[in-house]
Symmetry: C2
Subunit: 181 residues, 2 copies
Amino acid sequence: MLLAAAQEFNAHGFHNTTLDEIAKRLNVTKPTVYYYVTNKDEILTETFRAGCGALAEAADEVDRSGLVGLDKLAEFMRRYAELMTTDFVKNVALLEDTCLGPEMRGEIREIKSAIDRRFRTFVEEGIREGAIAECDPKMAAFTIAGALNGIARWYQPDGPLSPCEIAETTVNTLVAGLRAR
Amino acid sequence: MLLAAAQEFNAHGFHNTTLDEIAKRLNVTKPTVYYYVTNKDEILTETFRAGCGALAEAADEVDRSGLVGLDKLAEFMRRYAELMTTDFVKNVALLEDTCLGPEMRGEIREIKSAIDRRFRTFVEEGIREGAIAECDPKMAAFTIAGALNGIARWYQPDGPLSPCEIAETTVNTLVAGLRAR
């Protein structure tokens, strides 16, 4: 349901999409949709939560992997980049939160910031371990997230490069830019 | 007028913004707005054109500057990054084109692609001149554009770093990642 919602919102805009259309798209009745969510704002919020949840889970796995230094950051970047090519996370990355009220918008911003902080923490660890050149970890995190989120904007499944190749190429450039010299 | 339109579209969404509101915001009458554009789609298209025009102009200036190799690409990145912190280009970068019909949307995509091709061309030149490491110029251009467009998403005029510092820090990371070793 969240994938269908994200796709409809991106295709026609949040305001032009009704719960009816999302239900029709899923071949279910409107009451079935209402069983899960009370309104459209809630679907949008849940969609953000699930998409960012997948990214946070990747960060958790990398945290438990035993990798250190730049390898740890690179592994998270690779997983993040590949997730950006999946139908669901790609659509979540393209969603706008300007349609939400201030409270829900605040919640979404917090969820997104939490992902940025994972990048920042991994960069800080890499600097302490001497693997990453001295830099502003916040700015480095923004640069990484910007480059990786961009994949959602241009990725086409029928393009010449596989998700794995896209991840590898993008991550290699960023890693070379961060490496201690 | 284009700045006011971009700000209104980003604040309330394209569909929730009327030409009346844009006129009111500018303290002019609706006929005054109609003197310049025939409808809302046209304002949106003109706004994209002007924003991307500013980026293209920066690329033209860098092209005429006599700079070569990585310095040329870095200079364009710096100017592009600084433009992303200006009220107008920041707002243009945040605009969605999903609200437009297929024809105008196609035109906008072409305008955006032209900017991506400038990055690609500068990368290709840098590779030929031996200043940039062998890489896929298209992927490098996407990585650069993603990182720099991201600035529009997080930049706050009251933040701790100046536009110049933001540009310098972001460009340094990207340049280090692209440099021939």
